[in-house]
């Protein structure tokens, strides 16, 4: 099994979720994150003190999937998350040794 991690723009989350539903993927875990990269941050000013904020809000999505579906799902996420402008984010794939559903103790692809 594999773990797909995607860093995307927050307002694309809905589209990604929708696309995954179409592919019959019914589980994911997301966290709020802050990204640093080519996309510029912004400047804030409070009583004349300037703050350069380099980080940009991102959403981090984790998807545990069966090996056979990795390509298809990665492509779907890339497609749904893309806006074409800088800062669209990254996707990476990591190996998984095992996966368990806590409720039932099922292991492997059955636990998805």
């Amino acid at each position: 099994m594999k773990l797909i991690v995607a860093i995307v723009k927050p307002f694309r989350l809905d589209a990604v979720k929708g696309r995954l539903k179409e592919l019959d993927v019914h589980g994911m875990t997301v966290t709020e994150a802050q990204g640093f990269g080519r996309q510029h941050g912004h400047t804030e000013v409070y009583r004349g003190a300037e703050y350069q904020v380099d980080f940009v809000p991102k959403i981090r999505i984790e998807l545990a999937v069966d090996d056979s579906r990795v390509e298809e799902i990665v492509d779907a996420v890339v497609d749904a998350a893309r806006t074409g402008s800088i800062g669209d984010g990254k996707i990476w794939v990591q190996p998984l040794d095992s996966l368990i559903r806590i409720r039932t103790g099922e292991r492997g692809p059955d636990a998805l």
Partner: protein, 416 residues
């Protein structure tokens, strides 16, 4: 006696001043966290701009000697001078003229501020400032002269409006409709979720509005007398009844009575009682409040069908609530509460008052909507009303004011 009346009017003026920060919180809580400061700023800047313009000239155009036909005042009071001779048309036994125009200044401020509830999340800050400056002179000032100055043509005909059902409520509601039609909908509305970012902030705002509204309504007696007491209790009861009305509607319609609904219902009740406060009995106030609560709860749902994006429901609550108040005043007004008032349809006065009230409401709707639309259009064609799509998606706090509302995380503002 003048000292007591002045005391009451000044206390009321302070209360009404406090309503604008309250409104800023009410609105601020309802928007997404990237636009909180921008909408609050619109309120605060109204406190700045409108106050200054009021003192310089607007006050005089409203309360100065009538230029003829009850259409506008002259500049005799410009710079708040010339008040030693009293306010034209007002008796001399009441509160200090300077206190009265101070009190009235707060009305102009909050009416302008109300409009920001419609334009939130997408209006350029400089455009908003320019807009309220123009709007103050072209919309608010004439209407206020017509209704609040004893020489105004509506007041003169016997239209009753205790504390601004027309000038403040209907006016802000339909002005908002006009400007949002020019401005267009927020990107993503209504398909994307735009849930309130902090309901407690909004509830606090409503608490302040509730508190301040006693000054607004009871202070409009312009002195301490029996009418002020009626206006006070009527405000309290209409708010309470409005709250319950809205909640009942929600309970029936969507199963859940919400806190934002409770807050909105209280506001709706107070809006509707605004024109009536010093003219009706407490029991009539309960009826007015409950009807306002239910009808405004229905009214705010209309925008989803008609697809105009009155973001925080200025039309649905203030516009509609004001209309309800004006009509019900034509039904419930009674001279037993206020000898300077009149009797309505249910209180033996026939259709006379009702038709006057409806006429005034219609005039206000037509005038506010038309002139505001023209102002908005003019600004849109020249300096532009709306921020760029990219700025809209990044949020107005950052793009208009270079600020973020919050930085609460364990890591503070990350990256600093």
């Amino acid at each position: 006696m003048q000292a007591i009346n002045t005391t009451w009017v000044l206390v009321s003026a302070a209360l009404v001043l406090f309503m604008t920060p309250g409104l800023a919180l009410f609105y601020g809580g309802m928007v997404r966290s990237k636009n909180v400061l921008a909408v609050m700023m619109n309120n605060f800047v109204a406190m700045g701009v409108v106050s200054v313009l009021w003192a310089l000239a607007a006050c005089s155009l409203v309360f100065g000697h009538d230029l003829g036909h009850g259409l506008l005042g002259n500049l005799s009071l410009a710079g708040l001078g010339g008040l030693g001779h009293g306010l034209p048309g007002f008796g001399r036994s009441g509160a200090s003229p300077l206190a009265i125009v101070t009190f009235q200044m707060m009305f102009a401020v909050i009416t302008a501020a109300l409009i920001s509830g419609g334009t939130t999340d997408r209006i350029k800050f400089p455009a908003f400032v320019l807009f309220i400056a123009c709007w103050l002179f072209l919309v608010y000032v004439p209407l206020a002269h017509w209704v609040f100055s004893p020489d105004g043509w509506l007041a003169h005909r016997g239209v009753l409006d205790f504390a601004g059902g027309t000038v403040v409520e209907i006016n802000s509601g339909f002005s908002t409709l006009a400007i949002v039609l020019v401005l267009g909908r927020r990107r993503g509305w209504p398909s994307e979720g735009m849930a309130p970012h902090s309901v407690p902030l909004s509830l606090l705002g409503v608490g302040i509005l509730w508190f301040g509204w006693f000054g607004f309504n009871a202070g409009s007696a312009l002195g301490m007398n029996g009418v002020a007491v009626y206006a006070f209790i009527n405000t309290a009861l209409a708010a309470a009844a409005g709250l319950l009305g809205w909640l009942c509607f929600e309970r029936v319609r969507e199963d859940y009575p919400t806190t934002l609904g409770a807050a909105s219902g209280a506001v709706a009740g107070m809006v509707a009682i605004t024109p009536c406060a010093g003219f009706v009995t407490p029991m009539a106030s309960l009826v007015i409040g409950v009807l306002a609560g239910v009808i405004c709860a229905m009214a705010v749902r209309v925008k989803f069908r008609l697809r105009y994006d009155d973001s925080l429901d200025v039309l649905g609550v203030h516009g509609v609530g004001g209309l309800i108040g004006m009509v019900l005043l034509g039904l419930f007004a009674t001279r037993s509460v206020n000898r300077a008032g009149a009797n309505g349809l249910f209180t033996g006065g026939g259709f006379h008052l009702l038709s006057l009230e409806v006429m005034a409401a219609v005039v206000t709707v037509a005038f506010s909507f038309t002139v505001t639309w023209l102002i908005a259009k003019a600004i849109d064609l020249t300096v532009g009303l709306r921020v760029s799509p990219e700025d809209e998606s990044r949020g107005l706090d950052l793009t208009q004011h270079a600020e973020s509302a919050y930085s609460i995380g364990g890591m503070g503002r990350i990256g600093n």
